[in-house]
C-alpha cells in the first residue's frame, strides 16, 4: 500500500517537472515562464521528496530531505523574484528609451 502510494507520488512529481519544462519552452514571456518553472518545480520536488520519505527507514533521512526541499523553495523563490525584477527593470528601461 505504502509502496504503491510512494510510486504514485514519484510519478506525479516527475509529471510536474515535465509540465514545468514544457511551460518553460512554450510560454511566450519571461514572467509566465518563471511562473511555470518555479511553481511546477517546487511542487514536483515536494512530491518526489514525499514519495521518497515514505520509503525512508530513518527519521533523519526524512528531515534531511525536508530541509533540502525548504532550501530549494527559498532559493528558487528568491531567484524567481530577482529574474522577474530584472526583466521588469529592463522592460521599463527599453520603453523609456522608446519615448
Amino acid at each position: 500500500m505504502i509502496e504503491a502510494l510512494s510510486i504514485l507520488l514519484l510519478w506525479l512529481g516527475g509529471a510536474f517537472f515535465v509540465i514545468g519544462t514544457v511551460g518553460l519552452l512554450r510560454f511566450p514571456d519571461v514572467y509566465s515562464r518563471l511562473h511555470a518553472l518555479t511553481k511546477a518545480d517546487t511542487l514536483g520536488l515536494g512530491l518526489v521528496i514525499l514519495g521518497l520519505s515514505l520509503r525512508a527507514d530513518q527519521l533523519f533521512t526524512v528531515l534531511l530531505m525536508l530541509f533540502i526541499w525548504l532550501l530549494v523553495m527559498a532559493s528558487s523563490a528568491t531567484a524567481c523574484q530577482l529574474l522577474a525584477r530584472y526583466q521588469l527593470q529592463s522592460d521599463k528601461d527599453s520603453s523609456d528609451g522608446g519615448k
Binding site: 532559493s75 528568491t78 530577482l82 525584477r85
Partner: protein, 301 residues
C-alpha cells in the same frame, strides 16, 4: 536490470555529448556559458552514477558553481561588442576531429578490460592512514605532496590575478529580498561547509568541497555588500590565504627533520594532523576562491 541501467548510461552520455557540442557550436557566448553550467550539473550527476560522490560534490560546487560564476563575471566585464563572432565552421577541423575520434576511442576501449590499479595497495595501507575514507587518505596522506602543490597552484592563480590590476567587479546594490536571503544563506554555508569538512575523514566530503561551499557563501555576502572587498592590505587575509600551504609545508619539514621522513606523519598524530591541515586548507581554499571571483580591491579606494 542491466539493460535499463545501460539505457540510463546511454542517455547520460548522449546528453553530455550533445551539451558539449552545443557549447562549442552555439552562436552566442551567453548561451554557451549557460549551456556549460548545465553541462557541469549533468557531469555531476554522471559522477554520482559512476560511484564517485566526492567528485559529484566537488563538481557541483567547483565545476558548475564557481566556474559558472567566474564565466558570468568575465562576461559582465567585457564590453558587449568585443565578443568575437565564430569563424566559419571549418570542415577540415570537423574531419580531423572525426578521424582522431576513431583513433582515440579505439585506444581507450581496451582499457575497460584491464583492471590494473592501486586499489589493493591502497586498501592495505588504509589502516595506517589515520582516516577511514579512502579518498581523503589518498589526498592528505598517500599523495599529500600533490595536494600541497595544488594549494600552491591556487595561490599562484591568485597572485597572477592580483598583479593584473583589474578594476574590481562592479556590484550593483542588491534588492532587499536577495539581501535578506543572503544573510540566512551565509551562516547555512558555514554550517554545511563545516559538516562536509568534518565528514571528510569518514565519508564523501573534505577540504575542497567544503572550501568551495564556503567560498560561495563569501561571494554571496560580498554581492550583498555585507563584507567589504578583499584586499592584500589586510594581514589576516594574507594569513588565511597562506595558512593552508604554509602549515602543510611546515609539517612536511618537521616530519623530515624530527620524524621518519618527508610528510611521514607519526602514526599516533596522523588523524589530528590531517584534520588540522584540512581545516587550514579549507580556509585558504575558501578565501582564495572567493577572492578569485570577486577580484582585487585596490588599496587606493
Amino acid at each position: 536490470m542491466a539493460a535499463s541501467e545501460l539505457i540510463l548510461d546511454l542517455i547520460l552520455c548522449l546528453v553530455l555529448l550533445s551539451l558539449a557540442v552545443a557549447v562549442v557550436e552555439v552562436k552566442r557566448l551567453y548561451d554557451s556559458i549557460i549551456l556549460f553550467i548545465a553541462f557541469g550539473l549533468i557531469l555531476s550527476i554522471t559522477w554520482a552514477r559512476l560511484g564517485a560522490p566526492d567528485l559529484a560534490l566537488a563538481e557541483a560546487a567547483i565545476g558548475a558553481g564557481i566556474t559558472g560564476v567566474l564565466l558570468m563575471a568575465a562576461y559582465a566585464n567585457l564590453a558587449p561588442k568585443k565578443h568575437l563572432q565564430n569563424s566559419h565552421r571549418s570542415w577540415l577541423a570537423v574531419g580531423f576531429s572525426l578521424a582522431a575520434m576513431v583513433w582515440l576511442v579505439l585506444s581507450l576501449i581496451p582499457l575497460a578490460d584491464s583492471p590494473e590499479s592501486l586499489v589493493a595497495v591502497a586498501e592495505q595501507a588504509m589502516a595506517d592512514s589515520g582516516v577511514t575514507h579512502p579518498v581523503t587518505a589518498v589526498l592528505l596522506n598517500f599523495r599529500a605532496w600533490d595536494t600541497l602543490l595544488e594549494l600552491v597552484v591556487l595561490l599562484l592563480a591568485l597572485l597572477g590575478m592580483q598583479q593584473l590590476r583589474l578594476p574590481s567587479l562592479k556590484i550593483a546594490y542588491p534588492w532587499p529580498l536577495l539581501n535578506a536571503w543572503g544573510r540566512y544563506l551565509a551562516p547555512l554555508t558555514i554550517v554545511i561547509g563545516g559538516y562536509l569538512l568534518w565528514r571528510g575523514s569518514s565519508g564523501p566530503g573534505g577540504a575542497f568541497q567544503s572550501g568551495a561551499l564556503l567560498a560561495a557563501g563569501l561571494i554571496v555576502l560580498r554581492l550583498n555588500h555585507v563584507i567589504p572587498g578583499l584586499s592584500w592590505q589586510h594581514a589576516w587575509l594574507r594569513c588565511s590565504v597562506l595558512c593552508g600551504a604554509g602549515f602543510f609545508l611546515i609539517i612536511a619539514c618537521l616530519t623530515a627533520w624530527l620524524g621518519q621522513g618527508w610528510l611521514d606523519y607519526p602514526a599516533s598524530y596522523s588523524a589530528s594532523l590531517i584534520f588540522i591541515i584540512e581545516f587550514l586548507a579549507t580556509i585558504s581554499i575558501a578565501v582564495t576562491l572567493a577572492w578569485l571571483v570577486t577580484g582585487q580591491q585596490e588599496a587606493a579606494s
